[in-house]
Symmetry: C2
Subunit: 384 residues, 2 copies
């Protein structure tokens, strides 16, 4: 079977935007058509990754609206929802559309418009994806993160500072990302003294609420070669679901969705964790970066914090993680985030990451929905 | 490439149900596993077709919840939204998952819970998928249908009775569907004298608001043969999008999404309209059955009403349409409807439609989102 290629990428400015979801996805979609050099009439399938435009804006049908706005009619258009991993699920859907032969040119656009809601309102919308039996007791995603972090730090005798260093690193990386919501460094002291949100986690352990959109263009490798010499191939992609009731998991420090989706993506690509040169992990909360490093085999169980302390995941280290700034500094517009991870890895493997560029033949991104309820892992490498 | 087979189907009772979306999709999902004789551990991908569980119930993440409830973990799970054609889009997604090799056993469950809302509230949620520039002027889907029906009847000199006969036929068919919301015949006089909703359309020209769920099990044909001799194959499936702004269409009686998706499905299957023995069309409004008959080539432009008047689309006619009772009498739980159309065509081509059975080698279903904004056409036939 022919490999699936990516020939273009784009993302809007992430942050507080004076624009509705319709405007954001149109902005990223148009930019991606331009970046790929693809005429709108060539697009056969259009996927829109979005979690909650109905709840955030009372607006449905945004994929049909985008198909209209981009002039790609009569292309097939569909919305992909997998909560906060909708973007990763969009990558998987786009891959399937090409690999199955259903489409020869698929545009994926992820987006979310959130900042017009209060933090409380947004948290409630996000919490609606958790299990009602847990949510009715007041357990939101940040509180899961707080409980998991406390357990992790105590069980593995990890210093609180190691979590803080994830935030410091990702903020530092974000300075070089022109589309990031926060382009400012923070020092460890600031992180550790910021207000408590879900003890032991503090404000700087959490990603912000964000508006934004990102896009990728997919086609078969033979078609990619007609457009460019610099394309990426999706050599591995897989998804997995974990228990919807978080407290039913045997070990709170193991996200089985990460483990299983990683296993699937590695197997498909023929690569293992040791081959990965750069990774985008879903640092919605700092503790999640540890859990994904371990679930994906970048560190032993309970040992991710040691690699962070050693500086291994810095941009200059052997395994740079979240060179884009991550969700932490780049922002986390739910449906856009997984696509934006893909944009960073695409740019890294084709050598277009500018000041953020690292030496990368193989890149990985891991997009986490809910509190690990559903996870997609994607592996890309440069085509030729 | 190996063909994609369907080896099991189920649907819940449609109607007013004392059950939430979570319960409905679990009920259909379990029944489909049983009908297919597939163990939950064999399921690799799970798709949930649903338009608006967030807006109707404030509940997100229903695909992860269902994966948990059915015990199919760590199967990949994702929600498919294409507004009222989410079910058809789910068939397309499931087809792609098998055809791409991503999955060897895919369960598709469509569902919606609506009746706990007032008709006004439900109409507002549904209207959120239309273009805001039209909706702000008060144009809802029923009003589009009314305007289109008036134009059609006047332009093609069609009798008002011909539309009424669609409702009479579909109610008659629904009597033999144990899962239908309304299992009662209505006579033409009742239809024509029912209260006006959007002139010239009256109450009986509209489908009801419904709770319900339906499911289908997909796998490669070689795997199907391990389970059963009686399976269907999806020989054609395609989707298309039309203008989101309805008034921009050159001819209000032509739904280009129907035309284009039909063209794609026919081309892929090697069949033409003349080969179709039975069809499920999206009769959300009676006028839509005419527009789909014409768009799919079952009648010339402006001439569908003549075939209805001639009785051609009755269960005993040469082209039975909506043998299930259609959306009109079976009900229209948005995300479930396209899947339920597939359930009927599957049962017809494998010979399991009981009292509704017609002589059918090739069946077609057409699922319409919005007012033709997005359309999926699927063609099935008996395997081997």
């Amino acid at each position: 079977m022919e490999r699936v290629a990516i020939i273009g990428a784009s993302m809007t400015q992430f942050g507080q935007r004076e624009a509705w979801i319709r405007d954001l996805i149109a902005e990223a979609g148009k930019a991606c058509l331009e970046d790929a050099g693809v005429d709108s009439s060539a697009v056969e399938h259009l996927y829109v990754s979005n979690m909650s435009s109905g709840e955030f804006e009372g607006q449905g049908g945004i994929m049909n609206m985008l198909a209209h706005d981009l002039g790609v009619l009569p292309a097939y258009s569909q919305r992909v929802d997998q909560t906060s991993s909708s973007g990763g699920a969009g990558i998987y859907a786009a891959w399937q559309s090409i690999a199955s032969g259903a489409s020869e040119m698929t545009l994926l656009v992820g987006g979310e418009k959130m900042t017009h809601k209060t933090t409380g309102e947004a948290t409630d919308i996000i919490a609606s994806i958790t299990h009602p039996d847990e949510y009715k007791h007041g357990v939101t995603l940040p509180s899961f993160a707080g409980m998991t972090a406390r357990h992790y730090l105590e069980r593995f005798d990890a210093p609180r500072e190691s979590l803080g260093k994830v935030a410091v690193k990702n903020h530092k990386n974000g300075v070089d990302n022109p589309h990031a919501q926060f382009r400012k460094e923070v020092d460890l002291e600031t992180v550790l003294e910021s207000p408590i949100v879900a003890d032991p986690l503090r404000l700087y352990d959490f990603c912000p609420i964000t508006d934004g959109s990102a896009a990728l263009m997919f086609c078969p490798e033979s078609v990619a070669r007609e457009y460019t010499d610099d394309y990426a191939v999706v050599s591995g992609v897989a998804g997995a679901t974990d228990t919807h009731v978080v407290h039913e998991r045997p070990d709170p420090t193991v996200m089985n969705g990460v483990v299983e989706s990683g296993k699937g993506a590695y197997e498909m690509s023929g690569h293992g964790p040791e081959d990965v040169d750069v990774a985008e992990l879903h640092d919605m909360f700092t503790i999640l970066e540890f859990l994904q490093m371990e679930g994906l085999g970048f560190a032993g169980h309970g040992e991710a914090w040691k690699r962070v302390e050693a500086g291994d995941t810095e941009r200059t280290g052997p395994l740079p993680i979240n060179t884009s700034g991550g969700l932490k500094s780049k922002g986390h517009p739910l449906g856009a985030s997984g696509v934006a991870q893909g944009v960073e890895i695409y740019e890294q493997v084709v050598g277009e990451a500018g000041p953020r560029q690292v030496d990368a033949d193989v890149g990985l991104c891991c997009n986490v929905g809910g509190f690990g309820n559903c996870v997609i892992t994607t592996i890309m490498e440069a085509g030729q």
